[in-house]
Symmetry: C2
Subunit: 197 residues, 2 copies
């Protein structure tokens, strides 16, 4: 049995996403090996994160500052008529990197694999409906992943947003740029054929 202070930290790291007890133990032994200053710097960073970062009250994107809105939502140059719904923060980052999208975002906070009450509860659906009901918004892009969970979530949102009578769209599916037909799976090819132009 590991000593209590090791066991406690293994338990805490095991709660991290994708981390099981074995990986958590590796994290703890890694922390035991690094210099004390490095471990202190990690603690300080966690503390700074919790102190400085807040979530945008419109899109839930994390940002540093005392304002209510993040830089994107606060930017008067952004198109207020389009709302892009993403699963999580890195998806927003990925779309921003394209520099092609000029509207606003909404971070849903996850996906649902089944439409059970407990699963749906973890999503920010109430807030999404509130945003969608704003008359400024003309189009809602459901930019969920092209995974079973992402598709399922998009279908759920489509039904949920039907009452708002807003136009909902999905991202185009097809062969990724640089991708070869030979290696594309049948579902992707089917989408590529349907989406030809």
């Amino acid at each position: 049995m590991y000593p209590p202070s090791i066991q406690k930290l293994i338990g805490q790291f095991s709660k991290f996403p994708t981390v099981g007890p074995r990986t958590a133990a590796r994290f703890v032994f890694y922390l035991l090996k690094i210099p004390k200053e490095e471990a202190e710097s990690l603690q300080e960073s966690i503390s700074q994160l919790k102190e400085k970062v807040r979530l945008c009250s419109f899109c839930f994107n994390p940002f540093e500052g005392e304002e209510e809105l993040c830089e994107i939502c606060d930017n008067p140059g952004r198109d207020k008529s389009t709302l892009c719904v993403v699963e999580k923060e890195p998806d927003l980052e990925a779309i921003e990197k394209t520099k092609q999208y000029k509207g606003r975002y909404f971070i849903l906070g996850g996906t649902v694999s089944r439409l059970r009450k407990e699963d749906v509860k973890s999503l920010r659906t109430k807030e999404l409906i509130e945003r969608a009901e704003n008359p400024e918004i003309k189009e809602i892009i459901l930019a969920t992943n092209s995974t079973p969970e992402g598709e399922n979530t998009a279908l759920y949102l489509e039904r949920l947003l039907a009452e708002t009578k807003k136009k909902t769209t999905r991202l185009g599916r097809g062969i990724p740029v640089g991708g070869e037909l030979e290696y594309a799976d049948p579902e992707t090819l089917k989408s590529a054929l349907e989406g030809r132009k």
Copy 2:
């Protein structure tokens, strides 16, 4: 771009074993979601770990206390003539759980995939030779993993310890208990045939 306090923590988590930048980002967003108290408790655990845990001056097993030796090394009931060399802490735990081994341990601190100077330097070879030269020790069990790195490391240690003229042994290889021949790979079957009794 993520705000600086998020980026800094992503960089720090990326140094954790098995963690890349994408997983590190997931860790940070997880920390943003949990209550402040939970994040503070994590910081406190890291601080406690660095304060309370020390490495046994004989076997390098981490333990809590002010003593020089861990409970295993300090136990007069343990057989002082056998030394079991393991790669890392969880391997020691795994052998202890069998309750079959009564000797002492030595945590090597890693494996080598190639015998480059830089690789070998990360292992506690100097300390191992020191322990092995103790006249009390009669047998050294090289309990490295049955992976290419583990085998390579064991071969390296065998050569390194040859000068001490101590008997070195390896763990038995073969079909795992509950394992089926049909699914055993040829190398395992070969070892099982060679190790038949």
